[in-house]
């Protein structure tokens, strides 16, 4: 059987082996039947459907990542083409010595964890409110999910105005409560939290939809049993219902974390340029700035690989978990 793997063209050698090992039947001496016997009866015929998309994704996604890895090992800057003759890890060393990179990595991590937690919490709250057998359920749900249909470029305009120092809604509200104005975008210690808040506004509806699907999948008997036991509503959710939302929580977290890693569009649009407000630089913005503003292609590729590894660290275990549950 093992010889069969790469003998697609050379049917004469491959087939007798494969035929005997499988079931002793052969439809003909052709590379097609050899492939079909190896991979399954529809393999060749169905490949006209899945192979072209697969090759496109393979080239643009996986080919590009490998290419990106290669470029990150060169010293490619400015115009022209990279020199692949001289590969080393210099760019990764440079990243570790670059305080801007370290700051961006820390900010990325804070945004990732903070944004995911607050969005999950708000999304769960919304889902529970919606699930309490309310009237106008569709209207509420539609409005909560509405920001999700907007571009980051659009929501960045809204929030630049919301956070405006002199006349933004947020400062108007907090001054009317007796607090002083806050420079949300200009203060490097605060801006990241402001960005997190705006992103939470945009994605809470998404978390709500995922949790709502999870809540609706829980059998009614669980609610009734908790009621019969005399548990209060809060206690029922905390003890009985929320623990059953593990699957929803995991899926929503992964998607939210990946969104947080990609928050580039929002930060770019907030200021209309490659340089986000001080204190809000993340790896995604740093990578694009190094590449397209400073033309440090190799260095940008190294930053991109770091970002890719962070994503892999989140998505890898998730895919493994899904695979084990038979969802793939």
């Amino acid at each position: 059987m093992t010889q069969n793997t790469d003998t697609g063209d050379d049917s004469g050698d491959a087939l007798p082996d494969g035929g005997v090992a499988e079931d002793g039947q052969r439809s003909g001496f052709s590379p097609i039947s050899a492939l079909n016997e190896r991979f399954g009866s529809d393999f060749v015929e169905s490949s006209q459907f899945w192979l072209p998309p697969f090759l496109l994704v393979g080239l643009f996604v996986y080919g590009a990542i490998i290419w990106n890895l290669l470029i990150s090992l060169t010293d490619f800057t400015g115009f022209g083409t990279p020199d692949y003759g001289d590969l080393d890890l210099e760019m990764y060393g440079r990243a570790l010595a670059d305080s801007g990179f370290i700051d961006a990595a820390i900010n990325t991590f804070i945004l990732l964890v903070g944004f995911t937690l607050v969005t999950l919490a708000l999304g769960l709250g919304l889902a529970i409110l919606i699930d309490r057998n309310i009237r106008f359920e569709n209207t509420f749900r539609t409005i909560y999910l509405l920001p999700m249909s907007l571009s980051f470029v659009v929501t960045a305009q809204f929030w630049a105005w919301m956070f405006n120092f002199n006349n933004g809604v947020i400062n108007i509200v907090i001054t009317s409560l007796g607090f002083g104005r806050v420079d949300w975008i200009g203060n490097p210690d605060i801006v990241l939290w402001a960005v997190m808040f705006a992103l939470m506004w945009q994605f809470a509806g998404y978390a709500m939809v995922v949790f709502l699907a999870g809540l609706r999948a829980i059998p009614n008997e669980h609610y009734e049993a908790a009621k019969v036991d005399g548990a209060s509503t809060v206690r029922m959710y905390w003890r009985v219902i929320i623990p059953q939302l593990k699957g929803s929580t995991i899926s929503a977290s992964v998607v939210l974390m990946v969104f947080a890693l990609k928050a580039f569009d929002f930060l770019y649009s907030l200021v209309g340029g490659y340089r986000p407000p001080n204190g809000a630089d993340i790896l995604a913005t740093k990578m694009v700035r190094e590449a397209y503003a400073n033309l440090n292609w190799a260095y940008a590729s190294a930053v991109a690989i770091t970002l890719f590894l962070m994503t892999l660290g989140i998505v890898g275990p998730y895919l493994y978990y899904q695979y084990n549950r038979g969802n793939l």
């Binding site: 409110l129 249909s149 694009v288 895919l319």
Partner: protein
Amino acid sequence: MSNDARTDGGTASATDTGASAGALAGIDGYRVLLYLGLLGMLTFFLIPIESGLVTSFKTSSGVSGSLPFAPPTGSTFTLEKWQSAFDALGRGLINSALYAIPATVISALLGSFAAYGITQSDWKQKYKAPVLALFVAGIFIPYQAVLVPLSQFWSMVSLQDWLGFVWALGINDDYAGVVELIVTHVAYGLPICTVLFRSYYKNMSEEMIEAARLDGASIRRIYRRIVLPLSGPMFAVVLIYQFTQIWNDLLFTLVLVQTESSAAAPIVLILAGLGTSLEGQDFALRMAGAFIAALPTLAVYIAFGEEFAEGVAT
């Protein structure tokens, strides 16, 4: 529907001890709180949009002189900002549609092909799994990880030279960027399209397909005659999801079209730099621009909210 049943069941068991009047009063107080919470959240989600909308109709003095969420009064009302936003963004609206619509349709079709080839045909699970895993993992790739190679690729595959006959017709060769955007968005949108269609095909009734196979129908024929006609609802979900994603994306437009002065500049690219200058920020103009850019996706969302929710939830 199931929701109604549950709460009915719940109240029935709570009230059959006889204290129905007390229970009702309790439920009323609780209901009031519930709706207050729901309305509070409604305000939270709508206030940035409401504030943007009223601001877009204000003159510059109205913007600085009135509360951000108060509607414009007679003297501070103007349509001028919408007019100038439309002048700046109008061509971007067309450019965006030029790549968003073809890319949406192509990626949905190819995604359906791929999902069908993997799901409904008979080849070994242990070889399907890695193919599928690569599609699924493709959903989560941060685009930054492919940007530099993508730029390199499109500078090597020079559409500007290859499509010379198109530019000879008098079309600005900046529109090579639109073709690049179509191919790029199709390639990176395919994973999610494939996974969405797969979840649908997995649950499709197999009896009809089995019967067709026994009659000797080819895989291609089964797709055209049975699977494609039944895919309508999923096509709605995928088309809506993809259109929103592609229309809203800034990163690829920034890398492939680069400048907002390009003849082919998409709307998001122009909007990102709108109303910011050295003299300060024209928020009324930015808000009007934001609404113009959001209009197509908002319209799709309002018309097909259910399908959109299904797309994001999967």
